[in-house]
C-alpha cells in the first residue's frame, strides 16, 4: 500500500504523532524518508554496508517501539540520530571485545564506491593515480579512526562527516556543550598526532 499523499506533506514530528495515534502508514513515510539517511549515517561509523543496513533496521525498530513515549521536544532527526549513534556505539563495544574485521572498501557489498566520477556526472576518465591514493588514504584513515576511543570517534564522525553543530552533538550524546567542545579538540589532537606519524599531509 502506498503512502497516502496527505502524509507526504507532513513534517517528521507530525508523522510521529500520527504514528502514536495509531496511523501505521506514518511509519512507512518515515522509513521512506530516512532509510538512505540512516544507512549512510551508520556507514560513517562502521564503514561496512551490510552492517550499516542491519544497524539501521534496528534503529527503525527501536523508533517504532519508542512511538508511544515520543514527545515533540527535539527535532525528529536528532532523535533518530541519537538512536543510531547509540546502536553504533554498541557495535564499537562489540567489536572491541571480538576480533576486529578489517574491511575492504571495494568488495563484499558488491558496490564499487570508488567509481565516483560516473556518479558525480564527471565524464572524464578517473585518474588511476588519484584512485590509488584515495584508496590507500582511506585505509589509513579507517585504521586511524579505529584507534580513537568510541567517544572521540563519535564526536568526530558527527561533526566532521555529518556536519552536526556542537549543540546538536551535545543533544545526541547527552553531554554539555563544553564537553563536546573539549572532546572534539582532543579527538582532533589525537588524530593529528596519528596523521603526522602515518600520513604525509599534502
Amino acid at each position: 500500500m502506498a503512502t497516502p499523499r496527505a502524509l507526504t506533506n507532513l513534517p517528521d514530528e507530525k508523522l510521529m504523532l500520527e504514528l502514536q495515534a495509531g496511523r501505521e502508514e506514518a511509519f512507512n513515510e518515515i522509513v521512506t524518508r530516512y532509510k538512505d539517511y540512516s544507512v549512510r549515517f551508520c556507514y560513517r561509523f562502521v564503514r561496512d554496508l551490510e552492517l550499516s543496513e542491519d544497524i539501521s533496521q534496528e534503529g527503525f525498530i527501536r523508533l517504532y517501539k519508542y512511538r508511544y513515549k515520543y514527545q515533540v521536544t527535539a527535532k525528529f532527526i536528532t532523535l533518530l540520530s541519537k538512536i543510531l549513534t547509540n546502536l553504533c556505539l554498541d557495535e564499537f563495544r562489540k567489536r572491541k571485545s571480538h576480533t576486529d574485521v578489517e574491511l575492504d572498501a571495494t568488495s563484499e557489498d558488491g558496490i564499487n564506491r570508488l567509481d565516483a566520477h560516473s556518479v558525480l556526472g564527471d565524464n572524464s576518465s578517473p585518474d588511476p593515480e588519484q584512485e590509488v591514493y584515495t584508496r590507500e588514504l582511506g585505509e589509513k584513515i579507517k585504521h586511524i579512526l579505529k584507534t580513537l576511543s568510541p567517544r572521540y570517534r563519535t564526536v568526530l564522525i558527527l561533526r566532521q562527516f555529518h556536519g552536526y553543530s556542537y549543540k546538536e552533538i551535545a543533544e545526541i550524546m547527552g553531554a554539555s556543550l563544553n564537553e563536546v567542545k573539549i572532546w572534539i579538540h582532543r579527538a582532533r589532537y589525537q588524530l593529528k598526532q596519528k596523521f603526522d606519524s602515518q600520513i604525509k599531509v599534502m
Binding site: V31, K35, R113, G138, I141, H185
Partner: protein, 99 residues
Amino acid sequence: MTDPAEDLIQLSAYLDRELDGAEAGRIAALLLTNSALAEEYKLLKQIRDELSCWDKYDCINVCASPAFEDKLTKRLRQLRGVESKSPGASSNLTIVSRN
C-alpha cells in the same frame, strides 16, 4: 593573559565556526600574531579537508538496498505480532517506497 591549552580548544571550535563574534575575533587576531597557533590551525584544516574529501568519496553510492523495506516490513510484522499478542493481526505495515 590567556591559557594556551584553552586557546587550542577554542581554535578547534573556531575551525568549526562555533565561536561567537567576540571570541572568534580574539582567535582570528591571535592567528595573525602567534605563528605556532597559525601552523596548528593550518594542519587541522588540512586534516579536516582530507577527511571530508575521503568521506565524500567513500559514501558516494551508499544508500539502502532494494531489500531494505521488505526486511523491515517482516521485522515489524513480527514485532507487531508480539505487541498485540496475536501474530499476523497487523495491517498497513507494508513499507512501499514512493520512488
